[in-house]
Amino acid sequence: MKQKPLNSTWTDEQWEAIATRNTSILVSAGAGSGKTAVLTERILEILKEGHSILDLIVLTFTNAAAKEMKDRVKKKLEDAIKEGYTSLEPELQKIDLANICTFDSFSLNLVKKYHYLLHIEKDVKIGDSICIEALKKESIEETFHEFYEKKDKKFFTLLDTFTVKDDTKIKDIVLSLADSLTSRIHIEKELEDCYKKINEKEIEKQLDIYVDEIKKQVQDAFLHINVLLKDAPAEMIPILESLKEMLQGNCDNYESIASIFYKLQFPRLPNTKKLDEDIQVKVKEIHADVKKEFQEISNQCIYLTRQEYIDEVLKTKDTVFILKELLKSYFLKLQSKKQKENIYEFHDIGRFAIQILEENADIRKEYQDRIYEIMIDEYQDTNDIGTYFVSMIQNNNVYTVGDVKQSIYRFRNANPNIFMDKFTHYKENDGGKLITLSKNFRSRKEVVDAINFIFQAVMDEKVGGVHYLNQEEMIFGNQEYEEIKDKDTNYDLEVLDYNYRDSAYDKVYKKDEIEAFLIAQDIKMRIARKEMIKAGKTLRPVTYSDFAILQDRKSSFDLYKTIFTYLEIPITIHKEETFYASEVIYTVKSIIQLICCIVNHKETTKEVIHPFLTLSRSFLGGVSDDLIFQLLKRSKQMKMSIFRCMEEDTDFVVLYEKLNVLAEYAKTHTISSLLREVYHVFHIYDAVIQLGDVKVNSDKLVFLLNLSETLETSGYDLNEFVRYFEQLQDSKLDVSFDVKKDTDVDAVTLMTIHKSKGLEFPICYFSGLTKEFSKKDYKERFLYQKDMGMITPYFAEGVRETFYKKLFIRTNKLEDISERIRVFYVALTRAKEKMILVAPLSDAPKNKPFVNVVLESIRKNYNSLYDILKSIKELFTVYTTKIDLDTIHLTHDYEQKKLEKLDLKVTNMESHTISINEKKKILKHNTYSHHPTKISFEDMDKMEFGTKMHAYLEMIDFLNPVESFQLLNLSSFEEKKIKAFLNVEFMKNIQDYKIFHEYEFISTTSSEESNGIIDLLLVGENDIIIVDYKLKEIEKPEYQTQVRGYMKYMHNKLNLPVRGYLYSIIDETYIPVEQ
């Protein structure tokens, strides 16, 4: 390892992460530990050592991260060059070609490069979700059709067992299983495995896992009883003793556990009436506690013997088989449809990339030999496909960096276990080296300390995924903070605690309202107090933009914005808009539908009435219901189509004409051009002012236009565009897009925790903590899980579920809660100078005592971030500020429409207006040539012959033809034709003429500009000869006109007499053309 330079500011661990070579490395880097800085420095060092940037692969998980990384490396290189490392100059040039990108785009490029090995076209595209949805729908329909046609017995049994009315349910099940399989690497193999796994041995394995947890719970219960026995009231002792005896020695084998817990009857509460009240309470509490614990165990003991568990899973075998078959067929169909349109999903691309590498050892080797290092940032977000992919091109040269505590993308298939596996192995120097960066440079000591004590208490391997205590704690590292500190500012964690339940406010205000007011007031106060934060080497007072409010969900963002604006605090929010469900898109859709009806002559009321009503009632139609009704009445009574009625109706004729013009336009234009024309004809961008929400509506229109461009390149025509809209409607999918926040304004930031990842703010508020985690729906009966395979129910006097399902829920619930704890970790680590938690902690009871870590049973049941706080309430005692809600000036005024009445009249038209009155016109370009009217392949052959002859005539030296004949290797027929031409009368005395072949010119008259090419132009001293070669039919008048045009032009130009000829190559004849 290279020595750390003497003046270096890197810590030893950081330097180790920069300079260690020749091994794979995992850098486990806590929040704010400078991991990205270390990564870029490492890149620079490697380049300084003489490696090329093109020999590195740097992978990230978002495009934004990739862009930022590229910019950072670029900046580093520029600085280094300035410092004198001129040898890096070429690397800077190459930076745009460097593989600094996301996993997705790296695999996409690999697939584009080697597309031919998969026999797919190079311009692979990532499909729009609606288009993909449509393909999925078609595929599932075709799959079912196939199985019906096959009269597959197992298929019919499946339908018979699990459906009654129709097969929709099973279709949905197949689709949903297919979705869970998309994150897998070898889908087909896994499907086969699903079936193979249904055997006693495999089931035993899962059962062991299932039973182990029960055993552990029994042991815990046993220990718990022992603890309780120490100081339980006397009335409880006999019960506890009997329970203890029951458990004694019965904890290590399922059958003995089951003999106790199967349909357990828990001892009744002893009679406590005669006891003191506090003892009564205590007895009840202990009884309830233990009962709950026992009940939980009992609930899991479904059978008395292990064999019964195994037998029930075996009963699902046929179901698994047929589902596997359906899925296989479905995937095959879907894949071929995707291939036809050349649109894929990112996971397909990932698998393609893997397929290329698996099947081509040379490509794999090329990467292994050529790539100096593969670097992966945010490694906690990696997934199975990505990991497998990297494993194939690596060569003990993978540098990964991340913080498993910040893994919050499980819903996008991120798998934090990959990180942890590596962590465990590398810790023992098995396969690579582990480097831990635990110093935090982002935050003040107060912030670091608070984060440590919170997560020590709630995060361990079981719940949270990592053992925080002693292993993942952050160490305060930025000593500057200690020096630059304002003595009047309190940097400690603060908990703004208010009492909500049963207060005077809980019926009148929502918690969100209270918290918004509370935070607003707090911010104002801090600014007024001139609280100080670090700015470089000094301190400065806080301003609005130093504050961020982070929330788990965005449901109350608008409320905050309204309240803050009411309280005159600038705030910017970051949220997404959905695209489809809106007046403006419905209206455009109706126009497209109507145009489609006109173009396809579908004019019955049944087809037209719906879009007609939409359009006429919309902001673009603006027709009253009465007029619409009158028209429909006429249409019905006169038995006339709606369009005809529109045409004859003064109130509709303008609308109709617009549609008609557009329909004409549609016949000769692509969908995106048509859409633009629709916007134009209806002045839609101006018309949306009538709707309000103008920016969002305009963005939607832009979005739709972009979409139409994309669809068009996949071959969508008008009909398919209409179908696309229908699909959008059916699938209830919507496309959402980010609306960016304003930058560079002094305003408080409000964003979701997920959005805040990677960012930092001086002062952070955490509110909305009481919102419950969105409940995962575990109702789904048919599931896929990579270890257990397919989890399905079976039928025996009703539909029953196997223990697999219970196991599935157990693991998933735990993982979900772990992830929520990590989300909270991400949130808190955003703060640089101060953290402020806002919650009604006063409402919460005293938390149960704990040593080091909160009881697992409590953590496993966390249902909100607030639950986390509640469970460690005692830790906050010294940090709590009780807020008296009477002092925060709560009011509903903000929501009353007390807006001043705006006068929208124009009072003063100062600005000058420039406008263009010219209308675009379509120009038909004039040429002297013309088109044949009917397709004739014979003519085409002739034309080809003609072209060839033209070329020969151009290349032949007229004055010395014989030599040319040999060179050109002419057929005798061709030679004969050319000789014939050279022998015609007007070609005889051309020795003194200047010869021009294919003479091209432009001629402009007052009205038009024409372009012409003269086949043969002979210019003599006294005259000019113009020849136009034709194959046949030289008498055609249009040919004559053409040559006459040439003649006129030449005459004007050179002022010499012109002779013009039309020559027929086939007939070997010519006719002169009169001027």
Binding site: D625, Y685, I689, Q690, T713, G798
Partner: protein, 796 residues
């Protein structure tokens, strides 16, 4: 000696224009780069792509190899070696045709490369030509003292609107629109450009080539030939029979025919040909339309007229210059071996070309913005190499200069912010009062009433109402108007309707015949006439279900003294108003029992779906079905004096049921079939309805205590309550009848209690949401009642 010019169309035009006025004749000819390649290196057989396909090459790869192959020599690299073998094969089979005489011909003349073409022509080709002693000259266009302005914005719309204003000013000062060009408008810019240009009302013409592949005519053709088995010659007639509808289609048809004609004599099948055909179609473009009096919007960087005005937007890192990656069939290492252009060289040429273009335009304004609503951009590195005479950072559009239409947009967005958050933006203060905006948010979606007489006329003076159409009215009057007056079609799931009809049909016959098998088979026949495998599978399943329910119904009959008297009994009430209304209904089953002088009736409606009975909504006119039936009875002479013993829904098609401990599946089913509804509160009557009522017999939840009183949870109802409910029903019916007379069909979906806005009862399953444009304020929120509180006091 002829001079072969290699030039862009614009340069060609300029050269021709120059010669137009000259009295001299120059011997020159314009050829394309492809033509030059063909003259110098050679050409390929028409069927090249197809031959290559047979050798396992995708059409796109084959096409890319066209130029490369000329340079392929024998090398150690495996891939190149294979290509070399391929080349030998192609030469031997005369698929690859090297230039011979053309090359010689070229040697006698001169090749002149004009302007930017010097960056497009492969360097290695020039070297080869020089080695062959072909005379190559360069023709530089006049270079100007180009003045490049450069502006930076924070938002894409600011950028485009500022440029838009510049355009308007230029127009005002006399520059023709045709001489103004927006360049480098990539796909993520185009939409925004369209937005702003439309607002500013600047006519524009988008320079775009679109492939004929996406044309309906071509897509139809491709679909049609997809399944043709046989030789390619089968297509000839198909193409000849195609009838183009307009010039545009004729052009495409000719192009299709042309593609086909290249292959038509080859010995291949349609199936094999399709891949090549699709590739060719994708790479064949529609006739471009020339538009005048419009500024051009071009995705690339292209020189038009010399005196023209150029605005290069989107001057960012990704587009200026665009970056090619090493993704070709041959990688850079292999390219080096063959001495052909590497990626780096290609990128360098592209950069030079761009710089050349920018310095050969007289008037250029480059602009950049750091973000659009959808994404962020970074500045172009080219800036460092450009000399700009004027650079303005952080440009903020000056509203005084802008156009009224654009100001309307700005003001409207400010008004949105104001109304949403009470925030007054800068634009708000500046533009309010000076910009016409009176139409802001004036659009109203409300239903404005229609003429009553017209409605009468439309309906020919009469209308049939059913219980369910009335139900629709109470969900939302406008929904009723669309569905039952205008009859706007809705898509319905076919199977649901079929099941309903099928089951009802069988059950109506059940009591009239002895053999349930027979009546099921009869019905089955009717339905299975046109069924496929799937339908017949489910019909068999329904049959099994029907057998189950039928036996249950028979059993049920054994336990009651009530006799099934009517099936599918039709009722009708007339309302003689201006619009005559016939209120009609069909009751699935009426059971009767006579005790002395008094006759009692039970009304039953079969349900194949999941509908639950909830009388609490009756106050709002919802879920009135069974009560409406009772109302019919009450108003029918035959039933006038009959007393109600009970009214029930009977669910006849259970979904797959979960296992319940200690219950067989058969038992679960039986419980499922139980009557679900209200029973007369007279215990003595109950014993006539169900002999076994003590043991919780055939009516769901009707539990009786040991001392013969009903449990509090039992759904029993007294006559008084029934009558009061019927009064409400009557009122509701009359209301609807009157509202129809008044043509009152307001958009007013009902919301019960705290339902989420997107899940309100009134709009559930409604397919007309894109006609009503419902707003939150249209929703009618009503209290959700429990236990018939609206009658005052608890239900007994």
């Amino acid at each position: 000696m002829t001079k072969f010019f290699i030039a862009t169309p614009q340069e060609k035009y300029e050269i021709l224009k120059k010669y137009e006025s000259s009295k001299e004749l120059e011997d020159f000819k314009f050829i394309s780069l492809t033509e030059l390649v063909e003259m110098y290196y050679g050409t390929y057989q028409n069927t090249y792509l197809l031959e290559m396909q047979k050798l396992g090459f995708l059409p796109s790869v084959a096409n890319d190899l066209k130029l490369v192959l000329w340079k392929v020599t024998n090398h150690e690299s495996k891939k190149i070696k294979k290509l070399y073998e391929l080349k030998q094969y192609l030469l031997q089979h005369h698929i690859m045709l090297p230039a011979t005489y053309q090359k010689e011909y070229l040697k006698k003349h001169e090749v002149c490369i004009c302007g930017e073409m010097q960056y497009q022509i492969p360097k290695y080709m020039l070297n080869d030509m020089e080695k062959d002693q072909i005379k190559i000259t360069y023709r530089e266009s006049d270079s100007f003292d180009t003045k490049i302005s450069y502006m930076e914005f924070s938002d894409i719309r600011d950028e485009i609107s500022t440029i838009g204003i510049e355009i308007l000013k230029a127009y005002q000062s006399g520059v023709s629109l045709d001489q103004i060009h927006l360049l480098n408008v990539s796909s993520d810019y185009q939409g925004f450009c369209v937005h702003i240009l439309e607002l500013l009302q600047i006519p524009y013409s988008i320079q775009k080539t679109s492939s004929i592949y996406s044309m309906t005519m071509i897509q139809m053709f491709l679909n049609e030939i997809q399944n043709i088995n046989g030789s390619i010659q089968l297509l000839e007639e198909k193409i000849q029979n195609m009838i183009p509808q307009n010039d545009y289609e004729r052009d495409a048809l000719e192009k299709l025919a042309h593609i086909y004609s290249k292959y038509r004599k080859s010995d291949t099948t349609v199936k094999e040909f399709i891949e090549v055909l699709e590739y060719e179609l994708k790479n064949t473009y529609t006739k471009s339309v020339m538009e005048r009096n419009a500024i051009t919007v071009d995705s690339g960087l292209k020189k038009y007229g010399e005196e023209d005005l150029y605005f290069v937007l989107n001057f960012n890192q990704e587009t200026m210059p665009p970056i090619f990656l090493d993704l070709d069939y041959l990688n850079d290492a292999e390219k080096k071996q063959l001495e052909i252009t590497t990626t780096a060289q290609k990128n360098e040429s592209k950069k030079r070309e761009i710089l050349w273009l920018l310095t050969h335009m007289k008037y250029v304004t480059c602009s950049y913005s750091s973000g659009s609503p959808f994404t962020n951009f970074s500045k172009s590195p080219l800036l460092k190499e450009l000399k700009t005479f004027r650079t303005i950072e952080n440009v903020i559009p000056d509203d005084k200069e802008t156009n009224q239409f654009y100001n309307r947009y700005l003001l409207a967005t400010s008004l949105d912010t104001y109304y949403k958050y009470r925030e007054k933006t800068k634009e708000f203060n500046q533009l309010l009062g000076t910009t016409f905006i009176e139409d802001y948010k004036t659009y109203q979606n409300q239903y404005q009433t229609i003429n009553e007489m017209a409605l009468k006329d439309y309906l020919n003076g009469e209308m049939v109402l059913s219980y369910s159409s009335m139900d629709t009215y109470f969900h939302c009057p406008f929904r009723f108007y669309l569905r039952h007056i205008l009859k706007v079609p809705e898509t319905q799931s076919g199977s649901a309707t079929m099941i309903g009809t099928f089951f009802h049909e069988v059950l109506s016959m059940l009591y009239q015949t002895d053999s349930k098998e027979e009546c099921i088979s009869k019905a089955l026949e009717k339905f299975s006439e046109e069924s496929d495998v799937k339908d017949s599978f489910y019909l068999q399943k329904y049959k099994k279900e029907l057998i189950e329910i039928c036996s249950y119904l028979k059993e049920e009959l054994d336990r009651t003294e009530f006799q099934p008297t009517y099936f599918e009994r039709k009722f009708e009430l007339d309302f003689d108003e201006a619009i005559h209304i016939k209120f009609m209904g069909v009751i699935d089953k009426i059971l009767t029992f006579t005790d002395g002088n008094q006759t009692y009736a039970i009304v039953i409606d079969y349900k194949t779906g999941k509908t639950q009975l909830n009388l609490n909504k009756v106050i709002y006119g919802l879920d009135m079905q069974l009560l409406v039936y009772l109302y019919f009875l009450k108003h029918h002479p035959e039933f006038q004096y009959v007393k109600v013993a009970g009214f029930y829904l009977q669910h006849i098609l259970p979904d797959v049921m979960n296992y319940q401990e200690k219950k067989t599946y058969a038992l679960q089913r039986k419980e499922f079939y139980k009557l679900d509804g209200y029973t007369n509160d007279s215990i003595s009557l109950v014993s006539h309805i169900d002999h076994d009522y003590m043991s919780g017999g055939m009516i769901r939840g009707l539990r009786v205590t040991k001392d013969n009183t009903f449990y509090s949870t039992a759904k029993v109802i007294d006559e008084n309550t029934i009558n009061r409910l019927l009064e409400i029903v009557e009122e509701n019916i009359n209301d609807v009848v009157q509202m129809i007379q008044k043509a009152d069909f307001k958009i007013q979906p009902i919301r019960l209690g705290n339902e989420k806005t997107e899940e309100i009862t009134g709009c559930k399953y409604c397919q007309y949401y894109d006609i009503c444009f419902k707003k939150i304020t249209d929703i009618k929120t009503v209290k959700e009642y429990k236990k018939l509180e609206f009658l005052g006091g608890d239900e007994k």
